[in-house]
């Protein structure tokens, strides 16, 4: 029971990170049908922005430093997302699918190696560690920091969901994902809405990277690679293009992975996650809550 509860808590945390990244995948995919391969690297960039800001504050970083670092990561990640879309993807929106996918791989390489050149190739220890106080629940320890991460993730996801379903901008996003050209004819600034989508998706990934950095305590320039892949898996499990699906997918993958690790051992963790991805794609490519994706373009 104790073990079970502890794994549940782990699953919730990992699931929140995956869900936040998966949202960006899903939003961008929903709106321009691009699999933004570089998305996982924005998570990594967010972690490094947080690291840089916290290091600036020096040793005596209080809550203020953490809050500033969080918003810096959020903002920087979002702006970087806009920049990437503008420079690398927008000129290619009408090109063959293969072209833009290869570009995305290139962007990912640039981000990873750009960070490696600026911060060095070794693991970096986060300057601020999360406090470990907490309380016992069913024999497992739940820290306040963990509660905060889960709450913050839920808050961000709820805000996003409301934004997309209730606001005018969200309506424009949904319209673009249905029909690009028609939306443009209705006088909606399509490119600006696409930029906005990239901003939101990227900043969520960056925020999640910053939280992961604090939570795990160390970061490296390659940390976004595997996590990005898993977040994509989460997006596919939930149904790509669907926002509640991305959240659900993140949680499901977090749970499967936590318990799969207990069952198979941690060295098979990634193999397990990717096998699930392949299984889902074979058995139910639309995911749990997804629209029909097998339709060809």
């Amino acid at each position: 029971m104790e073990m079970f509860t502890q794994q549940m808590i782990n699953a919730l945390i990992i699931g929140s990170f995956y869900a936040l990244i998966a949202l960006g995948y899903s939003m961008v995919y929903g709106i321009i049908k691009l699999l933004n391969f570089a998305h996982g690297d924005l998570y990594m960039v967010g972690a490094f922005v947080g690291f840089a800001v916290l290091s600036l504050f020096g040793g005596g970083t209080g809550l203020l430093g953490v809050v500033v670092a969080f918003f810096a990561a959020l903002l920087f990640g979002g702006l970087l997302g806009i920049g990437i879309e503008r420079v690398a993807y927008r000129p290619l929106l009408s090109s063959p699918r293969l072209t833009i996918l290869i570009t995305a791989v290139g962007v990912s390489l640039v981000l990873e190696n750009g960070v490696m050149k600026s911060f060095g190739p070794s693991f970096k220890v986060y300057p601020v560690q999360l406090p470990t106080e907490g309380f016992q629940i069913f024999g497992a320890t739940l820290t306040y920091a963990q509660i905060l991460i889960i709450l913050l993730s839920v808050l961000l996801m709820t805000a996003l969901h409301l934004f997309v379903t209730r606001s005018l901008y969200g309506k424009a996003m949904r319209a673009i994902s249905i029909d690009h050209a028609a939306t443009s004819l209705m006088g909606i600034p399509v490119t600006r809405i696409i930029s906005l989508t990239f901003f939101i998706g990227s900043s969520l990934a960056a925020a999640s990277g910053m939280m992961a950095g604090m939570y795990y305590g160390q970061i490296s320039f390659m940390m976004g690679f595997i996590v990005g892949l898993k977040a994509f898996t989460a997006a596919v499990i939930g149904g790509i293009g669907s926002i509640p699906g991305a959240m659900l997918g993140g949680l499901v993958l977090g749970l499967l992975e936590s318990f799969g690790t207990v069952w198979l051992g941690s060295e098979w963790k990634d193999v397990f996650a990717f096998s699930i991805l392949i299984l889902i794609l074979v058995l139910k490519p639309t995911g749990l809550l997804g629209e029909n994706v097998t339709e060809r373009m």
């Binding site: 833009i100 570009t103 290139g106 050149k117 193999v271 096998s275 991805l277 794609l281 373009m297």
Partner: protein, 318 residues
Amino acid sequence: MAQLQTTTPLAKKSPLIPVLLALFAVILFLMPYYANNYMLDVATMALFYVVLALGLNIVVGYAGLLDLGYSAFFAVGAYTSAILMTQFQMNFWLTFLIGGALAALAGIIIGAPTLRLRSDYLAIVTLGFGEIIRITALNLEITGSSSGIFGIPRPSIGGYAFTHLYDFYWAMLLLAILTLFAVNRLGNSRLGRAWKYIREDEDAAEAMGIDRVRVKLIAYALGAMFGGFAGSLFAVKMSAIAPESFNFMQSVMILLAIVFGGLGRLPGVVLGAVLVIILPELMRSFAEWRFLLFGIALVVMMIFRPQGLWPSGRGKTE
């Protein structure tokens, strides 16, 4: 209608070209007599990349399917040879064939469930598959876990044992030429035309009676097979292999080679493979900048010159 024939056989263009090609082949075959060991080693690596790039070209260049886990197939070939030779004392040439066959089988296993899906899903699944293979090699006993397999015996033909660098150079050169020939023939065959048709317009191709899934699957299996052959030869050349030789960056390098030269055009693919190996050697001092520059190159190429450095002489395809 886009022009579908992209790999025109060179020989048809000018009578001078076969002569030049033959001359070039002679220069390459004589390389061990005038080059030093370092040059020979780089050349062997370049030829190895030529084989890999040609194999990947079938999948990405001809059939238009993005494969981000190609190093998995070359890992299958390399590990097959390594395991069969060290544990079962099998003859290298037999393991070479088995390696290619198993790689093709791996291609079918990964392709069959995913080829029905959209091509961008395939990209991620192949990436995941590449990681699965690497991590499996890292964890299993039989693949020597993280230290890999070493002491792989040298192959021999008849009584002649491969002991020198130039033996492997010649073997690799032969494999590269055979692969070039085979891939060129495949590209111009009925099957090759079907691949390019699918790449240009999948629905139209299907309406013309092309079995979409089957044709893609063949592309996948054949591409994987050449990767397996190259991997098998790589294993005996290095005499030791480790999981890290087959990571994602390898797949990216091979992809870069074909993007650089020109997707689907064989002279370009060969040029790209050679460049990807030789450029980093020429600028050793930039070694740590390599992948950053490669990433920028991928983006810039796709935006400004998607047809590659050496596109086909005839009309553009895309």
